[in-house]
Structure formats: C-alpha cells, structure tokens
C-alpha cells in the first residue's frame, strides 16, 4: 500500500521516524523548533526540546558541535538553512567532518547528516538562491544526496541518518516549498546510496539531471517528443557515490550525453560526469557531451534576470539538439 505526501512531509516523517527509532538521533540548527521552511516543524510536539535543539546563529560552530556530538555517540541531523550559509561551515565540513575517519585511522566515524536548501526562483538574489552542491564534490569522505521526489527524499534521508559516514543532504526549495507530491510506501523503507533511477526511458540521448532539474528535463522530453526526439532522463539521486553504471549503460544505448545542473557550470557535477564520459566511456559517444548549468555570474534579484540565469527545459532541449 502507498499514500501520497509532499516533499516537505517526506523530510519531516523521515526525521520523526528516525528519532523514534533511535534515541541518539536529534535535530539541531537555527530555529528548528519552529522550522524556517517547515521541514522540522512539529517535531517539538513529540520530542523533548534538547532533541529539537535551537542553536545560535553560528554556522561553522554549530557544525563543529554536530561533529563533536557524533564523535561521542550521538547522530545529529543539522540544518544549515541555506547552502549559501553552509559556506560559513566549509572548514568543519571539508577539512574535518569528511576526513576525520581517515585521519584517525578509523578509530572514529562521524554519523552527521547536514540538511541544507539549494535552488533559485524565489527572487532572493545572490546569497539565498545558489545551488552549491558541486562545491562539496572535491572533499573526501562525504556522501552527497540530492533527491527529486518525496519517495527518494524520505528513503534517502532515513539512510543518511543511519549512515556512519557524514552526509550532506540537499533540499531544493522548489521541491520543499512548491508542494511537490508523490507516492511513498506505507511502511518503513530506506534507499541505498549510489543507485540512480531512470525517470523516463528514451533512445536518442541520455540526459542526467538532479533535483528540480529532473522536472525541467522531463519537460524538455515532452517538447522534444513532439519533434520525434526521444530522450532518456536519469536522476542520480546521490552525487557521491555516483552511479556510473546506470548512467553509462544508458549512454551505451543512446550514444549521446547531456548533463544538467542548476548550479554554475564551471567545474561542476556536469564537468565531472563529462570528464568520466570522455575518459573510460569515450568509445560509447556518438557526439560531444553537452553541459547545461547556470552561467558564471552571481544570481540577480531582478525576476527578469533571474529567469534568464536559470537553466530550464528550453536550454536542455537546445543542448539535446546539439548532440543530434
């Protein structure tokens, strides 16, 4: 049996279920008792205040607190409200969180989940709108999760909380605030990291897209279908580990690859997947790989300019056509 819930509910349920299941799980962050966007709202009705811990506004320090708590037997779920603010915590995340297991010779694991919001479209300009997930690709020791559906958000967040590796869990604002709905199983479930899904089958080109861009890619697929072009849309769901098998199995079928991300294009996830394609998988390609992403400029506040900045189904469709 299944039921339909929103992306927001999916996140909320995942946290509540894991907190019920394991007393070492707790949620912390700025105003989590109220919930700035709503993901953690209501947890305070069921759980004690110390398990829904409001913190001062100090991103790097509260990330360190989460890490320390994880070093000492707890499983914190830390909210860093915007990924733009997570930049304040890059020392903790990239220098320490991801590297501690290795540098201590596996004496310590760091079961921290950091949830952070990405995505533009809300006219909030440069510092509340970025999609910075690619900034974390270079750091060793992290798991990066980027879900696009309520089903995946719930299953992957539960897996993240249970993971003994630190996880950065990206939540796209259009998915949490846009009321995106989807089916989830009634019972308990988790999802493995490193397993992509094929959102739409196709034969002419493979489009790899993440989070909200999955929906733009599906929009492009509809438009292209009118012209007789059939694309396969793949949602990696986790950026690290990356499911190369599913991606390149598809490229083996279509011979064409388009990588789409909302983040800026330079040195991004698309660049990484394109580099993989041009290396081990070069013989599969019938056309040069195309990247779709945001331009290398700050995100403008003007609605007109912000819309011009964002990749969308039209820019994806154009990129697909360049490969044909």
């Amino acid at each position: 049996m299944s039921r339909t819930i929103t992306f927001m509910q999916a996140l909320n349920e995942a946290m509540a279920e894991e907190m019920r299941r394991d007393p070492s799980v707790f949620v912390m962050g700025e105003d989590v008792q109220i919930g700035a966007f709503g993901q953690t709202s209501g947890l305070i009705k069921e759980f004690a205040p110390e398990r829904v811990l409001n913190t001062p506004i100090a991103e790097n320090a509260i990330t360190g607190v989460a890490m320390g708590a994880a070093l000492n037997g707890m499983r914190p779920v830390l909210e860093l409200m915007f990924c733009d603010f997570a930049m304040l915590a890059m020392d903790q995340i990239c220098n320490h969180l991801g590297q501690w297991r290795f540098i201590t010779g596996n004496q310590y694991s760091i079961p921290v989940t950091i949830r952070t919001a990405v995505g533009a479209g809300f006219r909030m300009a440069y510092g509340h709108s970025q999609s910075l997930e690619s900034q974390f690709i270079q750091a060793p020791g992290l798991i990066l999760v980027a879900p696009s559906t309520p089903h995946d958000a719930k299953g992957l967040l539960k897996s993240a909380i249970r993971s003994d590796d630190p996880v950065i869990f990206f939540e796209h604002k259009k998915l949490i605030l846009g009321g995106v709905k989807g089916e989830v199983p009634d019972g308990e479930y988790t999802l493995p990291f490193g397993k992509a899904v094929v959102r739409k089958e196709g034969k002419d080109a493979t489009v790899v897209a993440t989070m909200f861009m999955v929906y733009e890619a599906l929009g492009a697929a509809e438009e292209l279908a009118k012209e007789g072009i059939s694309i396969e849309v793949i949602d990696p769901r986790t950026l690290i580990p990356l499911d190369k098998d599913t991606i390149f199995k598809s490229v083996g079928k279509t011979g064409r690859l388009i990588v789409v991300e909302e983040g800026r294009i330079r040195g991004g996830l698309g660049a990484e997947i394109a580099a993989l394609a041009c290396g081990d998988y070069f013989s599969l390609l019938k056309a040069p790989v195309q990247r779709v992403g945001a331009p290398m400029v700050p995100i403008p506040g003007s609605p007109v300019l912000e819309d011009l900045y964002l990749p969308n189904k039209d820019s994806i469709a154009r990129a697909v056509k360049r490969t044909l």
């Binding site: 001062p56 607190v65 989460a66 890490m67 320390g68 708590a69 020791g141 993971s163 003994d164 190369k244």
Partner: protein, 324 residues
Amino acid sequence: MALTNEKLIELYRKMLLVRTMEAKHGQLLADGKIQLMSHFGTGQEAVSVGVTGPLKKEDILFGTHRGVGEYIGKGMSARDIWLEYMGKKAGPCKGKGTLHLADRRVNIPGLVSSLGADFSIAVGTALASKMRNIDQVTLYFVGEGTCNQGDAGPSMCMAALWKLPMVFAICTNQFCEMSYMCEHFPTEDVAPRAAGYGIPYEIVDGQDIEITYGAAERAAEHARKGKGPYVVEFKTFRMALHFSGDPGGYVKPEDVEKWGKRDPIDLCQRKIFDKKIMTPQEDQKLRDEVKTEVEGAVANAFASANPTADDLFEDVYGQKGVIY
C-alpha cells in the same frame, strides 16, 4: 586538594618524559633522520601535564599541536606516539594522522589542523555527554593565540547556554606563532572574555605543577558537578620557537632568562628534594629510565612496518565502493 607524593612523582615523570621526547624529536630532525615537522612545548610542561592530570580515563581531551605534553598527560604512551609520528601502520591512527594524534582508548578524538576548529567540536562532545547523561568532562586545551578564532565566542556561548560539562584551558605561553602575544591582544589576559558569557574563570601560574594541577582539578570538578563550563588561563613561557622552520630572532633574551629561572621541571625537582620524596640518586635513576623509554619507543617506531598502497584507500568511508 594537596597532591600526594605518588601523584607528584607521576606528574614529574610525565614532565620529564615530555621534555625528553621533544628533545629527541628535535635531535632526529637536526640529524635528518625524520621529516616530521615539530612544534615544541618546552617550558610549558607543568601546564600540559598539570591540566590533564586530574582527568579520568573516560574524560575527553582536545589538545594542541604543541608537543606531546597533554597527550602523555592524558595517558598515551611514548611508544604509540612515536609509531604515529613516524607514520607507521601500527600507530593508533595507522600512520595517517602523524602530528594529529588521536587515541580512542584514552578518549582523545583527534587534533584539527586549522587552529580553533575544535573549539566547537569540544562543545559537541560535551553536549553528547550531557544528552547521554554520562559522567564525562571534555577538556578543551588551547593556546592563547587560537582564542582569536571566530569560533571561540560562539563555542563558549553554547557551552554556557547549555551548561555543558567542559573546561576551556588556555595556555598563555606569550607567543602566537611567531609574534609576541601583545601584538595579537589588546589585553594581558584572555580568560576575562569568559565573563561575557557568564562563565567563571581564573588565571594561574603555569610553572608550578601543584598550582596547575589544582586549578585543573577545581575546573573539572565544577564541570563534573553540572555547574557548566569553567575557564582557566595558565601563564607560562614557550622556550621553543614556533616550529622547526621558524627563523627566530624575535624572542627577547631577557624573557628567556627570566622564565628560565622558573623552569617547571626544575621547580618540581626542588619540591621533591625539599620534601625528601626522592634523593638526587633516585632522581637520576628516574631520568635514565625515562631516557631509555624514549630511545626504546623511537627504535621500535623505526623498526615498525610502513603502511602499504592499499592503506591509502582504506578508512575514507565506512560504506564500501564510494571511491572511484
């Protein structure tokens, strides 16, 4: 509480061990036998050994990069430290941490490289102790220079806000890397900053082991009894330069002369002779024993096996198959 004779000898022996280990490290570097960069704490042994003296095994220590004092003080062995320092597979961190010592058996979770990042990590371990309701104090031992890091403020703030069982111990050795403290601080003392967060503090002599131990004991008891954090500032003098590549030339000879008259090991030796706890012959025997222990630890480390290529890819993640 006055130190027992046994405890005084134990602390004296540890101070001798620390100084002998660091002298050996310097000699090995000078002879070109090892590559390991050094930051010595010569002259500060009464602080590093005294501050860790009252800790129980289950208490947690975050130490500094300056020498081995607090690590020996908390219970690491010379043998394990040298195995790790030389990057050997049998080291507690499997040779992956070297200077960044961690030893879970004695609750030393590790050492950060970006100074002060562990201010908040230590708050996190103390938060976990409180959440788990276990009798455990976290000692955050830090140099005065690092107290200018941005996370010092919010970390003390959270420790006080949540009344956490922790001690902030500041080792004021008059130098911040390669500058005199007065070039970094508008005040002579650092500890009064704690008053801004409502944390009690005291400032004590860092040369006399009975004083340093006593202050640490009071601070740890305060934290252990659930009264919240406590700050102690120890006044000492760094007889060594900042690190092995430090060109020097900035230390005033009159300061070296003044502080040299109150060398912590000499002071302790005098106490021991005055109280007739040991004879000069017994003292010499103890010093020979310590020297033999250090030589043995170093020889053992030289002879111990290096890690292999496979070890490079181990311990990055708990989960398998993430690295490509």
